[in-house]
């Protein structure tokens, strides 16, 4: 189907390139959706704060790495001091590790201060609580690290990969433009998913996690502490948020809009099902590829910017025909 005056093969390669780029963007959506699924499966909570957690994790990482003094401008405003940094720059690895520690601490506090007091409440109440949590964390992150846009650099390669461009040029006569960061993101996401599934299959804690996700009462009866599992699953979600935060932060700077990637995770979840890890992955990829291809083929006909709404429309279509998502369990009303 040669369109817009392009040759058949050019159309094919352009579309393929768009699809590949979409695949990479989809990985990001998958990552955020994964955080949602983990918490939803284990506790039935739809964690509205997942996106803000990614933002907060990225902010904290930048802050720690650059030796920023937390709450510096609050302290300065109150006491008239001029604090700003400790004057060090930490190696990325150490900074990531420390940030992970902060996310675990966050998980513990969420369990202590919020979840523990809302046991057996309606899902809608828990959902509202996570909305509150999102607003709190957003403001808290601002207070702690300041609200200006920050550059995040943990040493990930960036920019168009010349190797791929020249190789594909040689093979197909068409050089593909693929961002190296996108490739890294895809690899990291794959590693994350593999290690998560190994963890849940082969460790005692992973088994306990699956048990809780399946049946709370039964899990209790075999000696599993729900509180521990909640801390664990929020920690893992915090870790996933950190990974997503690093990737997006590196790509487009650490700023408020980072928390909005959560909005893209929503259609991913509708597609993949709220309880399925493979669903989150596949759903993210479908939406990533779908929106790029749609923009490529249909965008020019409707004046572009289809990426803003394509995902939601696709999700709506899915809601009509397969409300449980691609991989979700079939909802059968017993009568």
């Amino acid at each position: 189907m040669p369109i817009w005056g392009l040759s058949m093969s050019d159309t094919f390669f352009f579309a393929l390139e768009a699809a590949l780029n979409g695949l990479m963007a989809g990985v990001m959506y998958s990552l955020v959706a994964l955080g949602f699924v983990l918490i939803y499966k284990a506790s039935g909570i739809f964690n509205y704060a997942q996106g803000v957690m990614a933002l907060f994790a990225a902010l904290t990482l930048v802050g720690i790495q650059n030796g920023q003094i937390p709450f510096a401008h609050v302290i300065n405003a109150t006491f008239g001091t001029h604090l700003s940094t400790f004057g060090w720059t930490l190696p990325s690895f150490l900074a990531i590790l420390l940030t992970l520690g902060v996310m675990v601490l966050f998980a513990i506090l969420v369990e202590r201060l919020v979840l523990r007091h809302l046991v057996n409440q309606e899902p809608i109440i828990l959902f509202m609580a996570t909305i509150g949590l999102a607003f709190f964390l957003e403001g808290f992150g601002d207070l702690m690290w300041g609200s200006e846009i920050k550059k995040l650099d943990v040493g990930l390669p960036q920019g168009i990969s010349e190797t791929i461009e020249s190789l594909t040029e040689k093979w197909f006569g068409y050089g593909f433009f693929i961002d190296r960061l996108d490739i890294i993101a895809a690899l990291v996401a794959a590693a994350l998913v593999i290690s998560l599934s190994l963890f849940s299959k082969y460790t005692k804690q992973g088994r306990a996690l699956r048990a809780v996700a399946d049946d709370h009462q039964a899990a209790l009866s075999v000696g599993i502490s729900l509180r521990f599992i909640w801390v664990l699953v929020w920690s893992i979600a915090g870790f996933v948020a950190l990974v997503a935060g690093i990737m997006w932060g590196t790509k487009s700077g650490v700023q408020f809009s980072l928390s909005l990637i959560a909005l893209k995770a929503l259609p991913v979840l509708m597609l993949g099902g709220f309880t399925s890890i493979p669903g989150a992955i596949v759903g993210g990829l479908i939406i990533g590829v779908g929106e790029k291809l749609f923009e490529f083929f249909v965008g020019p006909l409707v004046g572009g910017a289809t990426e803003n709404w394509f995902a939601y429309v696709l999700a709506l279509v899915f809601l009509v025909f397969r409300p449980q998502g691609l991989f979700g369990e079939k909802i059968i009303e017993r009568v």
Binding site: F199, Y202, T203, K204, Q205, R207, A208, R210, A211, D214, D215, Q217, A218, A219, L220, S221, V222, G223, I224, S225, L226
Partner: protein
Amino acid sequence: MSSLTHKQEIPEGGYRTPDGRIIGGVLMDLKHITLRFGGVVAIKDISFDIREGEIRAIIGPNGAGKSSMLNVISGFYVPQEGEIWFRGQKRPPLKPYQVARQGVARTFQNIALFKGMTTLDNIMTGRVTKMKSNMLEQAIWWGKAEREESEHREKVEEIIDFLEIQAIRKTPVGRLPYGLQKRVELGRALAAEPDLLLLDEPMAGMNVEEKEDMSRFILDVNDEYGTTIALIEHDMGVVMDLSDRVVVMDYGKKIGDGTPDEVRNNQAVIDAYLGVVHE
């Protein structure tokens, strides 16, 4: 496996059953337990004990408070009044998972299995508190973790053989018929190698043949592993056959306690059951 049944002297507080088994001292002592749900008093000032190695039945009409009693023992409900003594020590209020870690396993009246998991995985998950290696150890010493894993597998296979459910090892339990689900649930409880096993209507909804199988398993668990068992059951024939001593509840109160024969001839018990229809 300790087997009290073959020891000769009767321990303090113990007794000899008509079939010659020897029951030990008090394992769990429930003193003046009262449990309320708002205005409903589910358990009214009930006291009884469970001795080591015995099969103790709790019976009574629907809504008598039997399940509530089991839930109190397993920590799912916290009574407003009363004391629970376990292995000679007063038990502080515990969470269900803490009770489980003390060696108390249970099944549920409405079956609480991990529906998405296979039979094998369900029973394996019953051993979760027996698993020692933590994440770090498992990441570093695969060898040790593997050895542990194979020990657990062995135990699980032993239980599967014992319950004669080899054929459904790899079947997701959500797809199994009711009777088999009950059996898997028993298997999961056994996997914890409990000292005290609580069974809430293990034979409800089963046909005669399935009931006979289940009775045999319960007797064998008690006999082979010396496991103390407290069970709730509506089928009088089963109760009389299985249990050493019976507690009878009605409207939250204890109206009888003794051997099956004593209970059968207790007028209060007969009255409570008159006009009450059971399967």
